[in-house]
């Protein structure tokens, strides 16, 4: 799967779709007009661009997702770890925990996660 990148504004818009899908594009136009102060054409432009990126699909005016929000963000974090820590999860955790100590609860959760994977 190719890399998909969204800007801050695009991801705000994508969130709006994920929360309300399936949603008609006219409905989206209304929502963005209220929340973002966007013009109709702007909304359509962004919908088209997100569809081109392969996250959503516009079927005769109804926008639905091809990738779920969780899928997308897990993909994003995988890419992030890949790009920033050469795919090394321990390096990522080490960087993440350098400046703050994990709470007991967090340590427990991580343990459980690892046990789960081993099993």
């Amino acid at each position: 799967m190719q890399e998909i990148q969204l800007g801050v504004v695009e991801s705000r818009f994508a969130d709006m779709i994920w929360e309300n899908e399936p949603i008609s594009s006219t409905e989206l136009v209304k929502m963005t007009a209220g929340e973002f102060n966007w013009a109709r054409t702007t909304t359509h432009n962004v919908i088209r661009r997100l569809c081109d990126k392969g996250i959503f699909v516009n079927n005769g005016g109804t926008v639905t997702s091809l990738i779920s929000r969780e899928e997308f963000y897990s993909m994003q974090s995988k890419q992030f770890v890949e790009n920033t820590f050469s795919g090394s999860l321990p390096a990522f955790i080490a960087a993440f925990t350098r400046d703050r100590n994990l709470t007991e609860g967090e340590i427990g959760q991580i343990r459980a996660l690892i046990d789960d994977m081993e099993g």
Binding site: G7, V9, N37
Partner: protein, 639 residues
Amino acid sequence: MERILFQILNLSIPAGFIIMVVVILRLFLKRAPRFITCLLWGIVAIRLMCPFTVESKISIVPWSNPIPIHNEYLSKSDEALLSHSGGIVLTEGQASVIVVNHDNRIIDETDPAEAAALVSGNSEAATLASGNSRLALMNLTREINNFIIRKAHILSLIWIIGVLIFMAYGGITFVSLRKEVSEAIPYGDNIYICDNIASPFIFGILSPRIYLPSSIDGADISHVIAHEMVHMRRKDYLWKILAFILLAVYWFTPLVWVAYILFSKDIEIACDERVISNMKPEEKKAYAVTLLSCSVHKKVIFTYLLHFGETGVKERVRAMKKYKKPSIIVSVAGLLLCAVAAVCLLTNPIIDDKDGEGKAEIVYAASPDNVYNTENEESEEEQQTEPQTEPETERQTEPQTEPGCEQVEDMEYAGSIQVYEFDGCRVEPRWYVYDGLVLFFAYDVLDWEEEAPDINVSTTIENAYISDYCIKKTEDTVIMQAFIVCPYFNPSIDIILSASGSNSIDEDSMGADSLEKYIISVGMTEGKTVVSKDTDCIAYTASMKEGIHINHIDISTSAISFTVADSNQDAVLEPVGWIISAKMKDGREKLISNMQEPLALSDGVNMHYSFLTEELKPEDIVEIIISTAEGNDTSIIIE
């Protein structure tokens, strides 16, 4: 179009001087708050925009209207004449600016270095350069002026294309940015976040908004907003657009580029100063870091927008380091300096009028605003001439429909119709530029309270002289017509009227020794005539054939003119087909003119003719021979 270009050129030279002054002042004002420098740039902008200025005694601007280019455009026939007359530029048009060049100090507009040389020690240079160097400068200036006039079409085309490119660039940037920011989402009060922009900026004219790139670091955001809010409050986004428009118009002037670049820096530094003026040292440091982080990963975009990290980050950080909150004294001193600079730089110097009391001096040139066609004038004159001339009146006006004279008519432009108060009476001057070589000058004097005084006409142009004039007095009007023969095209000609009451020609304006006269009075009898040089122009007459006389013959370096009159005052002979030749000192005989296209002018009784000639040396001429088609030869011997 050419007219606009000349106007722009004329505005750009004093403005260039002011820019240099501001650049120098800017060096001294490094310590003062930077908004003062911005105010100084405002002075430059006003000067660039405003064609009209107030005169003041303390003005330090050396030239009010340095390029007195009278010409508007050259028609094709003019260009033909141009090549014919060997470098003499012929004008068809009118003065585009009012020319006040009493000492003929004309500055080359394309050479800032030269201009700069004259700025430094203005008065000194004027006196020192009185000799050959000044002449050389004038010659150079003249050549450049002539070049500009000759190439006016192409130059103005190039200029307008440049302006259009700038405008197109501005327009394209505007449209593409508007597309980008259409996808922005609100962040705070009038602040928006946008994905596709690289740096924060303010966009919009009527409802400007602050746009922040979505990639901006959370820590930076407050600094950036503080900075942009100051821009917003000061309406800097509008000033920047104005500066860009001025740059677009004056794109050919390097000093305006300098001004634009420095102004862009100053506006940012002034803004930074305002932001950090209430900050603690560590906050200042954080602000400087923000500045750096915003500038690192970005190419410099040339635009009319205010970019947060756009210009001179290094200088801005350094300025911030040096910045101390200015004391009130420094600020007030700076503002005072600014006010003084405004008065000195926004005004033009008053022209010295040494003996201005009893003497009304009218120095004018036609301005394009009140150019009107002479056709009405013409018919007026016809009416006036009718009672004096008898059946042959038609013959008189006819020449203007003939090919040669038609051109003359085409070339006639009437000048100012402004009415001047002059020695207790009103004078309505007009002037007609025939081809830059011969000026016909006329004015009406209206509303005489007492008897009309005699009026002298002089010009400030070097080597120009009044070849001939006549005064006609009617009940309520005095009409004067004069030929002013200029030996070369000089775009700066002042025509000076002085009443005989306050006496004679103004020596100062004339430059007594620079005005070389070759007025030859001709006393002709049948056959040969002996005349002497430099005597007054007295109307001697000589018969060409029965009843036809030739009056004053004037020879300049590039023209010969004379008056043909009929002793019965009922007909005027057209010298078509006449051949004028001159015998030179070395014995050669030189054809002066075969009278193909004389410039003709009638005062109702006489017919004045003027002919362009190849370059002549009047002092080398010993004899002038005029022969008509009928074989009536007249020879004039000059002693």
